[in-house]
């Protein structure tokens, strides 16, 4: 049945994440299009460890606003590896230290630094069944070292492998009961390619409607890529930036 299960308790939706799992975490900063409720459930209601996180930054979310804002960081002790483009983390931009800096520095957590566009394309390729592709990004740079170089039409390219994961946690504004998703503004970012690239995709949404209520031409992620829906309260709390929306 293509109707997707709806969880109102996020803990149940993430309860089967095992030790050693790889998890794609949607979102661009710690707040923009980030599945905060799923992140918190994984952090606070499971014991899963030895995890690999794939996302634009390190696994952290921002809660609250202004003086009250705080960052909730997934403890490096439970993480084996992070694959990301921005290991400095969103908190660092705001002058708040990120414990992953030390964890990457002393090697207790492995860091795979991937340019943002290559990261997005590796995830898209994973979802699209393309095991490798060539990109000019990274030629001559330390993050391109050791990769196969091949020349096409007189220009050098690096071979990059697809990325797939056991789970994808994505954030959308609305779903229908078939799991079709729409996103709000720039909260889309990594969420659609990640939804394609995981064995189990869990979508955190603020509204669930009947099939047909979202016109087909407006659906961004089709439900074929989505396995579970988690309904959360609409979130309008300002959380990031000068006027803090996200």
């Amino acid at each position: 049945m293509a109707i997707r299960p709806v969880y109102t308790d996020p803990a149940q939706a993430v309860a089967d994440v095992p030790d050693g799992a790889s998890i794609m975490l949607g979102g661009f900063t710690a707040a923009l299009g980030t599945p905060k409720v799923l992140f918190q459930a994984l952090l606070q209601t499971t014991q899963a460890r030895d995890l690999t996180f794939i996302g634009n930054g390190t696994p952290q979310i921002m809660l609250g606003e202004g003086e009250q804002r705080r960052f909730l960081v997934f403890p490096p002790e439970r993480v084996r590896k992070v694959i990301c483009s921005f290991p400095g983390g969103a908190s660092v931009r705001q002058g708040i230290p990120n414990p992953y800096e030390q964890a990457f520095g002393d090697g207790s957590v492995e860091l795979e630094l991937v340019p943002q566009g290559t990261l997005a394309e590796r995830i898209r390729a994973g979802g699209a069944g393309v095991p490798a592709f060539y990109t000019p990004t990274g030629v001559g740079a330390p993050f391109g070292a050791g990769k196969e170089v091949r020349e096409f039409d007189g220009r050098a390219y690096l071979m990059e492998r697809w990325l797939r994961a056991d789970f994808a946690f994505v954030k959308a504004i609305k779903a229908d009961r078939l799991g079709n998703l729409v996103y709000r503004n720039t909260a889309r970012n990594f969420n659609p390619p990640m939804a394609m690239a995981a064995t189990v995709t869990i979508a955190e949404v603020e509204e669930i409607v009947e099939p047909g209520e979202i016109p087909p031409e407006l659906i961004v992620t089709p439900g074929i890529f989505v396995d579970r829906l988690v309904l959360v309260r609409p979130r309008h709390e300002p959380v990031e930036g000068r006027n803090g929306n996200a």
Binding site: S85, G105, L113, P115, T135, Y183, T186, P193, R242
Partner: protein, 227 residues
């Protein structure tokens, strides 16, 4: 003393970069000085700004302390609006725009630029890791890459060099450098000094540049008026 000689403020560097736009270009702006370029770009030029987090058609900043449009941010995490006719996309589509050669111009900051067009902008020497973000893809993919930065570090270290000493972000990509003392093109045979800040001579710019400058026969002063 060149250390104390007056240099252009960041806003004037940004204003000079904006003068490069002829009209109708698709442009990506990096964080820092590059982000200021939009403020000096006349709306009449019809330049469309791209944010790699998924917005083609960045509008003005949102009013402080007010959520005008939820979840609408530029790549620096600042709340912005979208222009009429803007397009929203996911990260893979956004970098298809970048990598596919559809961006006319990108303006990024730089830690070091070499005379062969190499760019180091994501990691200082001695650090264990750097945050590259989208800079490598954008530097590699844009048809023309401009760098907007201070000519030297606050400590007086040179940033325009024969070869970068910091880890490279992209190789052979920089077309033109806009600094607080000069505008320099990167040519196949090295740096070409085209413009100097008011009060600066070519010899003085050379003294704060770590690679030989050829001086353009049309050397002129950077114009300090909106274009």
């Amino acid at each position: 003393m060149l250390e104390t000689k007056e240099r252009l403020p960041r806003e004037l560097i940004a204003m000079r970069v904006a003068a490069e736009f002829k009209g109708g270009e698709f442009v990506n702006l990096g964080i820092g000085i590059p982000n200021l370029v939009a403020d000096f770009t006349s709306p009449d030029k019809g330049v469309i700004f791209h944010a790699e987090n998924g917005l083609l058609g960045i509008g003005r900043a949102q009013e402080v302390g007010k959520i005008e449009v939820p979840d609408m941010m530029n790549a620096g995490g600042q709340p912005v609006t979208a222009i009429p006719g803007a397009w929203l996309m996911d990260s893979a589509e956004s970098f298809a725009i970048v990598r596919g050669g559809h961006l006319d111009i990108a303006v990024l900051g730089g830690l070091q630029v070499a005379e062969n067009g190499d760019l180091a902008n994501h990691m200082r020497a001695g650090r264990k890791f750097g945050s590259v973000g989208g800079a490598a893809d954008i530097a590699t993919g844009a048809r023309r890459l401009f760098i907007a930065m201070e000519h030297t570090t606050k400590e007086g270290e040179l940033k325009l060099l024969r070869r970068c000493t910091y880890p490279l972000t992209a190789i052979g990509v920089v077309k033109k450098v806009f600094t607080d003392v000069a505008v320099i093109s990167v040519e196949p045979d090295g740096f070409l000094l085209e413009e100097v800040a008011p009060g600066w001579t070519a010899e003085e710019v050379q003294q704060v540049t770590g690679a030989p400058l050829r001086v353009s026969p049309n050397l002129r002063e950077i114009a300090l008026a909106p274009y």
